[in-house]
Symmetry: C6
Subunit: 84 residues, 6 copies
């Protein structure tokens, strides 16, 4: 077992949902989703084993993009959709 | 059958959706999701049996992270996205 | 076929989404989800047959917890997140 | 092929999302979900063939209850959660 | 390969989310979902091949009705739930 | 391995969720979903390998359309449903 670095386990890196741009909000959505998984499975070896599996399976990629879409709903609402 | 400790069956530990920070809100989202499962399956042995299965299956990890994302939507809205 | 008791078929037991606490709101979310299933499959024997299957399958438990998370979003919004 | 009766194909029976009670709102959520399926598959024979399959499969029941939960979110919001 | 007619590729037929009635809103939700799929797979032959598969599989029908439920949430909110 | 062009990795092309029309909003929803996947799997060869698989599988098409529906909820809210 190889432990993930501690930074990879922070649930909300930066400590805020507010971002300057939609691009950064989207990147945060991806990070939130990934760090949830790190907290459920903190063994880097297991994660590395799984990566080739899901990253070449279209259904897994669709499922992963679904999670990012849900996280982004929250972040976009937090930022009032960067309308201002 | 090994019963989970009673604290693991409380549906909303702390009794509130309000948290001081996004990080704590995110941790609460994970707890809510986990405690739902504890209430459906309160036998610790069964849960321990399942853990190596889902925690090394990328699709299960993605599905679990999806649930956390949905719980977090609720908690983030409750906290007005920690904007203040 | 064994019919479920009529109380198990009420879709919204108590007739309201308003609860005193998040804990009760969360319990209501679990009840709503379960009673939907009772209405689709009101045969207790079939339900009892399925229980050992889904309650020891991590993916089923994750899927069930997802439904509870969605129901809870509605109940939490109804209660203005118990902010008051 | 046996055609479903026309009433089973109406997408929003009653023509409104407003209901007097949460119980009726919940029943409408189940109806909306079912009538979507009727519109995709209007052959009663096919539907009857599928019923024993999904109604005794816990994962199908969980998936069906998920759809009802999503429909109910919309109906509950439409009715301002029957708060008044 | 048989190309779908161009009208089947318009993402929002009518160019608006506003409809006169919930019934029309619901029909639009079904259209939006279908036209997304047309844009991912614009070959009518492939679509026709898939239709008997998903339309007689209860789990596919449930999954399709889930998408319609999500599209309808957006349309219903856009129309302020046809409350007026 | 063939790298995707850099433009395909931008998470929010155009840098805004605001669009002139629902049609453009819908196209953006499809783009957001696709670019998430590009960021998880940036190898064009892998993506091309997966395309015939998911694009001829009705369940994959339904799952993909689900993600677009969720992205569109965010974009439609950002644009106040193009009501104005």
């Amino acid at each position: 077992m190889t432990d993930l670095p501690a930074a990879e386990l922070v649930l909300v890196p930066g400590g805020t949902l507010l971002t300057a741009t939609p691009e950064e909000g989207r990147a945060l959505a991806m990070t939130l989703a990934r760090h949830t998984i790190h907290n459920i499975q903190p063994d880097l070896d297991k994660l590395m084993e799984g990566r080739p599996v899901y990253s070449s399976d279209p259904d897994s990629l669709i499922a992963a993009s679904h999670v990012v879409a849900v996280e982004f709903q929250t972040i976009a609402a937090a930022n009032d959709y960067w309308r201002g």
